[in-house]
Structures are given as structure tokens and as C-alpha cells.
């Protein structure tokens, strides 16, 4: 589904992604972790073409992201993305946030889009809150609206960039639960950047550890948390699990 081969990216002189190769099969959930600044956000943005990269190839559903003739808006409309800071559109209600791309990209009618939105709001536990603006919602609620907004496009894969890092601790679980349901019930293909190791252990098929722009470890979840692994990953894990 998502295939990344020998990707290199530079910000001017700074080599931010070094020869990254990994893949996510259909229905798989991959967790990507690693210290801040290791290039996780940059990598996940390369997957749907929000960041260009200079070398290597990325294909999603056999479409090459980096190719000149690729219709990026079309490709992106099939890949859901959830951001650390939610990025709800503050001048729109939750309903309008979720309807916008259904109307403008998929060409759904107003009533179709609203029906779908209401179904999705129920699903993420926000029944009847469609009329609220993001400033009137808690962080956890905002992130669930953002997930519903991505799901409204019926994506074949979902990308999550630290979806719970900006949340108060008591709101983390409500978001993780929605994500877990998505993986278990829908068999959604997911690439998740997160430091929630409990989530990784429960939901992920594989865990990838990145450091300084490199993939240091790419292992099955059980192996990652069980058998010996690289010192860098071990050190990182011990720091994270202490908290």
C-alpha cells in the first residue's frame, strides 16, 4: 500500500532523511517513534507529497508520489492525515470542517455530505456537536473531529503525526480508542507517529524507530518490545517508558 524506497531529503544542507526504506501493507498498522527532530514528521509528510524529497521513490497504492505527472490532489484525497495540532479550520463549524472536502473534492451533495458527517460524528463519540466551532471544543474533541474529517473522504490509508502529543493526559485515551477501533474494526491501513507505547503494543503490527534521519530499527511489535535491539532504541524506550 505504502512503499518507501531509499528516500533522501535535504533542507538546504541539512540531510533530514537518510536513505529511508520501509513499507506498510494493506491493513497493517505501523508505529513510527524516535526522538524529537529525528525526521518523523518530515517523513510522514513526504508520503502524501506535502514535503518534496530529492532522491528515492514513494508509491502509495502504486501511484508514485514524487513523479511529475502525478495528480497529487487526487492522490491525497484518498489518504487521510491527522496532525499534532489538529488543524481544524477555526472559521468553520465541526460540520463545515467535515463537509468541505466532501463537497469540493468528492462532489457530494449537501445532504449526502451532512448525513455522512453525522454518521462519522456519532462514530467518534461527538453526536450532536456538529454546530460547534473548534474554539468551543476540547483538544480531544477537536482531534476526533479531525479524524472524522479525514474519514469522510473514505481514505484507503491514514497518516497520523503525533495525534495525542498536544493533548492533556486525560484526553489521550478518547483519541487512541477511536484510532484503535479504526484499526481493529475497519482494518484501516495506518502509519502512526506516536510515543504512546501502550497503543503501539496493543495495535501496531510493526514498530519503526528513527533517529537522526535514519531508520534504526524496523521490527515486529513483539520483537521490538521483547528481544534485544539497538542501543539507541533501547535508551529511547527506557526514557519513554519511565514516564
Amino acid at each position: 500500500m505504502i512503499d518507501i524506497q531509499n528516500v533522501n531529503k535535504w533542507f538546504d544542507d541539512f540531510h533530514v532523511l537518510k536513505n529511508i526504506s520501509m513499507s506498510v501493507a494493506k491493513g497493517e498498522v505501523i508505529v513510527v517513534c524516535g526522538p524529537s527532530g529525528s525526521g518523523k514528521s518530515t517523513l510522514i509528510k513526504c508520503v502524501n507529497g506535502l514535503e518534496p524529497f530529492q532522491k528515492g521513490t514513494i508509491t502509495v497504492n502504486d501511484v508514485s508520489v514524487g513523479a511529475k505527472d502525478t495528480n497529487l490532489p487526487e492522490l491525497r484525497s484518498h489518504i487521510g492525515m491527522v496532525f499534532q495540532n489538529f488543524e481544524l479550520f477555526p472559521h468553520m463549524t465541526a460540520m463545515q470542517n467535515i463537509c468541505l472536502s466532501q463537497l469540493k473534492v468528492l462532489g457530494r451533495s449537501q445532504s449526502e455530505a451532512q448525513d455522512r458527517t453525522n454518521t462519522l460524528l456519532d462514530r467518534v463519540g461527538l453526536e450532536g456537536l456538529g454546530f460547534k466551532y473548534s474554539s468551543e471544543l476540547s483538544g480531544g474533541q477537536q482531534q476526533r473531529v479531525a479524524i472524522a474529517r479525514a474519514l469522510a473522504m473514505d481514505p484507503f490509508a491514514m497518516l497520523f503525526d503525533e495525534p495525542t502529543s498536544a493533548l492533556d493526559p486525560e484526553m489521550i485515551n478518547e483519541v487512541l480508542e477511536v484510532m484503535q477501533e479504526l484499526a481493529r474494526d475497519d482494518g484501516m491501513t495506518m502509519m502512526v507517529v506516536t510515543h504512546e507505547m501502550g497503543f503501539a503494543r496493543r495495535v501496531a503490527d510493526r514498530v519503526i524507530f528513527m533517529d537522526e534521519g535514519e531508520i534504526v530499527e524496523d521490527a515486529n511489535t513483539d520483537d521490538f518490545f521483547g528481544t534485544p535491539r539497538s542501543d539507541r532504541a533501547q535508551l529511547f524506550l527506557s526514557k519513554i517508558l519511565q514516564h
Binding site: 490532489p73 491525497r76 489518504i79 472559521h91
Partner: protein, 219 residues
């Protein structure tokens, strides 16, 4: 001394002065609309990844910001008929001059407005499959416009004051109408005091409204 003043002259000429005011308001409204649209396009050009567009935007802004408005109005009065090869009335040429000139100022306002919106907002739009134009139209520009509304209005108040310069091409805006009455009836002081009073009141209440908007937005 005071007896020498005759403020009745204002009442007698009110319909004529009102016509001038209508012209001022119409010119302000149309110029503001046109130059906000053009200014926004210029701002998008300046912020685009395309060198040629950036250059056009930058040259436009720097060119018009280094000219006095009076000169631009004058110029277009003589230039436009030559370019389009037919008579153009003074109102149209003034309107064109104002739009092109003021666009340079509105461009810079809209540019900082667009820059005030985080990149994540545009990313979220693109990630949903929206194209550049849709992302700008539905996500970035509405927010930029809202954030900049007080400054856009302040610039429009300045524009309203500047419309008084159209007397150089013989248009009877409010100021010119006041001058005409003043000279015809030899009532300079009365009319100039009245004109100053009207501008002061309108612009003062305009600014008050802007302040009110700002406070409402910063709640």
C-alpha cells in the same frame, strides 16, 4: 464678528454637497473593492513559488508606493484615453488609478494576513485533496481577511480621505463641491469648517468602529 458668518449657506447647498458626498462614497467603495481584489492577487503572487510572479508583485508594490497619488490620478486621466483610443470619463480614469495605486497597499496588508495563518492550515487543506486555489479560497484567505479586517478598514478610511484629490481631474467629489460653493458664494470659512467637520466625524466614527472590531476579535 461671528455675525459675519452665514452657516445657512450649507443648508441651501446641501443637495449639491450630498451629490459630491455620493461620488466620494461611490469612488471609495468601488476603489476599495477593486484594490482589495487586485491586492490579494498581488499578495498571492508575491508569496507564490514562481519567481516571475514574485518579481511582478514586488515591482508593482514598490513602484506605486514611491509615487504620489496625485500624480497617478493625473497620469491616468491623460494616459488611459491614449491607451484605449477613446474618450474615458474622469470618474473611470480616477477609479482605475485608485485601484492600481491602492492595490499596492492592500497587497502588503493581505500578504501579512496570509503569513499570519500557520502552514498547518494549508497542509490540512491539501491533505484533504483540495487544490491550491481551493485551499486559498476556502481556508487561508477567509482567515487572513478576518485577521486583517481592522487594518483593511483603516486603509479604506485613508482611501476615503484621498478621494478628495480627484478635484485635479475636475470631478466634483464632496471636497470639490464644498470648494465650488465656497468660491461661488464667497463663503470660504463656513464651507471649509463644514467639510473638515464632516471628514472628521466620518473618519472618527470609522476608527471607533475599527477599535471596537479589534477588541471583539481579541476577546
Amino acid at each position: 464678528m461671528l455675525a459675519a458668518f452665514d452657516f445657512g449657506v450649507i443648508g441651501r447647498n446641501l443637495p449639491y454637497l450630498w451629490e459630491g458626498m455620493q461620488l466620494s462614497l461611490l469612488l471609495t467603495g468601488l476603489s476599495a473593492f477593486g484594490s482589495i481584489v487586485l491586492g490579494t492577487i498581488l499578495a498571492l503572487m508575491r508569496l507564490s513559488g514562481i519567481k516571475l510572479f514574485q518579481w511582478i508583485g514586488a515591482v508593482w508594490v514598490n513602484f506605486f508606493r514611491s509615487l504620489p497619488l496625485l500624480l497617478v490620478i493625473f497620469w491616468f486621466y491623460f494616459l488611459v484615453p491614449v491607451v484605449v483610443q477613446q474618450q474615458v470619463d474622469a470618474f473611470q480614469s480616477a477609479l482605475i488609478g485608485f485601484v492600481l495605486f491602492e492595490a499596492a497597499y492592500y497587497c502588503e496588508i493581505m500578504r501579512s494576513g496570509i503569513l499570519s495563518i500557520s502552514r498547518g492550515q494549508a497542509w490540512a487543506g491539501y491533505a484533504l485533496g483540495l487544490r491550491y486555489s481551493q485551499t486559498m479560497r476556502y481556508i487561508v484567505l477567509p482567515q487572513a481577511f478576518r485577521n486583517m479586517l481592522p487594518i483593511l478598514l483603516t486603509q479604506t478610511i485613508i482611501l476615503f480621505q484621498d478621494t478628495s484629490l480627484v478635484f485635479v481631474v475636475g470631478l466634483a467629489d464632496f471636497m470639490t463641491s464644498a470648494v465650488n460653493v465656497a468660491q461661488r458664494d464667497s463663503r470660504l470659512i463656513e464651507l471649509y469648517v463644514f467639510a473638515a467637520f464632516v471628514y472628521l466625524v466620518m473618519c472618527y466614527f470609522g476608527s471607533l468602529y475599527v477599535k471596537h472590531l479589534q477588541q471583539k476579535m481579541h476577546r
